[in-house]
Symmetry: C2
């Protein structure tokens, strides 16, 4: 538990200090491999005009860049808050071994972050969502999928 | 419908040509504002070692950078495939007016993309998920949330 605490402490430190410095919301994350922090991330949505720049996303991108891999096999992510659906999706695509989190999505909702709303929307059939999603031109688009299925030199992910 | 088709056609073109060029999976997207394409994206997960580099993510980041805003108010996104949970989350955070999509998540699952698995995992209680999520140190982390709640000069998003 000692080691674990050290990494989460760093994620929490980032969440507080970078918020104070005006980078964005109160969120921090680190990626750990072989007992070492290989990447740090903190929320910088408003300071970098990037709605995808959540702490986990920044840390995942940095870690993958360092490892020269699109996978975080053998890594653990420590995040100061339970991931929103976007970050959760990114985590599944990156496939670390384990995720540690401190604040909860209910805590995030209590300080007015939209996570809960997004979780609810994802569960709804597309036609019932508040954001309009319109389906069109599937036949034309499917050409790409058929070609991918047959592609001999593809790199799967 | 004429205008609409033109933008989706471009998203589909990107999905095919960039896949053929070896950038990554068969996915393309464009962001449209005031009848003009302001950003293009295509999947480059494997070519850029970035598991977050899905077509929609790339297009959203590019569009926000161009607009100098972390919001896509007044914009529409055309994507060659129904967004995965990560991209869906990013879309909700970016808040465009509308999303058009062509291929479906069922189509993506049929050519072995993990979207469906991620959708299923998101719905499970954390303790039932295949990826281990471990809760710890909430009390320490909540300091950041309390401070955010009281912060006078924060930029909400």
């Amino acid at each position: 538990m000692e080691t674990t605490n050290k990494f989460m402490k760093e994620a929490i430190r980032l969440s507080i200090e970078k918020m104070r410095a005006g980078n964005g919301g109160p969120f921090g994350a680190v990626v750990v491999k072989d007992g070492e922090i290989i990447a740090r991330g903190f929320n910088q949505v408003t300071s970098s005009n990037d709605p995808t720049a959540h702490a986990e996303m920044v840390a995942i991108r940095e870690a993958c860049s360092k490892l020269g891999s699109f996978q975080l096999t053998g890594c653990e992510i420590y995040t100061s808050c339970e991931p929103c659906p976007m970050c959760l999706g990114a985590i599944y695509w990156a496939r670390p071994d384990k995720v540690y989190y401190a604040n909860t999505k209910e805590g995030a909702a209590a300080i007015d972050f939209d996570d809960q709303f997004i979780y609810e929307e994802i569960d709804l059939p597309i036609s019932d969502r508040k954001m309009p999603f319109i389906h069109m031109m599937e036949k034309e688009a499917k050409v790409a999928f058929d070609e991918w299925a047959d592609k001999q030199d593809k790199i799967e992910y």
